[in-house]
């Protein structure tokens, strides 16, 4: 594995707190702490991006399905009118 050496600038307080974690033995060195933190961050970002992709993917799947239906051929006003009829029917069934 190839390594790159980098210099980082941290607020003194953050560095002191990080050092405490190393001193307590949670990490073998300060470099180890930085590596672990970056890996964790990348993993979370990956999961977050995947979730966003999944949401959009599901919506696209439904859109593809609905393109084959009469809904896709209807105007906005026609869809609203159709939903109004359904709404009124539910009202009659449940509350009237």
């Amino acid at each position: 594995m190839e390594f790159k050496k980098v210099n980082i600038t941290l607020p003194a307080q953050l560095f002191e707190k990080s050092k405490q974690l190393v001193d307590k033995g949670l990490y073998s060195s300060f470099s180890d702490l930085v590596r672990s933190s970056i890996r964790k961050e990348l993993k979370e970002e990956h999961q977050l991006l995947n979730k966003e992709d999944e949401w959009q993917r599901k919506i696209k799947e439904i859109r593809t399905d609905l393109q084959k239906t009469e809904l896709a051929k209807m105007s906005k006003e026609q869809i609203i009118k159709r939903l109004r009829k359904t709404r009124d029917r539910i009202w009659e069934e449940k509350y009237a």
Binding site: I62, R63, L66, L71, R84
Partner: protein
């Protein structure tokens, strides 16, 4: 940060799922990005309206979408007083249940393309915005 609560009407869901470049379509896609700022809710009536208007082979996919918990279905028990309140305000029969649901949930916004709703902008309890107005509002803040 306290999340704002927004009721999404069935017309926004159906229009958002049948088109790609409309405000409703952009809204549906953006819900995932907005979930940290807004709690998006629907009533069982709104859920039923969507389910009754999509084909059977899409119903499972719509339920899968709800499993993301970005839009949640909240229970609503009939509230005669609220129904009367919105009836007195002149809401049409089916809309009474949706407005009462938004009221009972202490929603901040009801997002709907329904012109009957949009003319009742004086409702003090919650704002009524269409998808375009809602998107403009979130850009503003």
């Amino acid at each position: 940060m306290l999340k704002k609560k927004a009721v999404i009407d069935s017309n926004e869901i159906i229009l958002g799922l049948t088109s790609e470049n409309t405000s409703s379509a952009i809204l549906i896609i953006k819900l995932n990005e907005l979930k940290d700022k807004y709690e998006f809710i629907i009533s069982d009536d709104i859920y039923q309206e969507v389910m009754r208007n999509i084909p059977n082979y899409t119903k499972g996919k719509f339920n899968k979408l709800l499993e993301f918990k970005i839009i949640t279905i909240n229970d609503f028990l009939t509230d005669v007083e609220l129904f009367q309140k919105y009836k007195n305000l002149g809401f049409k029969k089916g809309d009474i249940a949706i407005a009462s649901f938004a009221d009972k949930e202490n929603a901040d916004i009801l997002i709907s393309e329904n012109r009957h709703f949009l003319k009742w902008l004086q409702t003090k309890k919650f704002k009524i915005l269409n998808a375009e107005q809602f998107l403009k509002e979130i850009i503003k803040f």
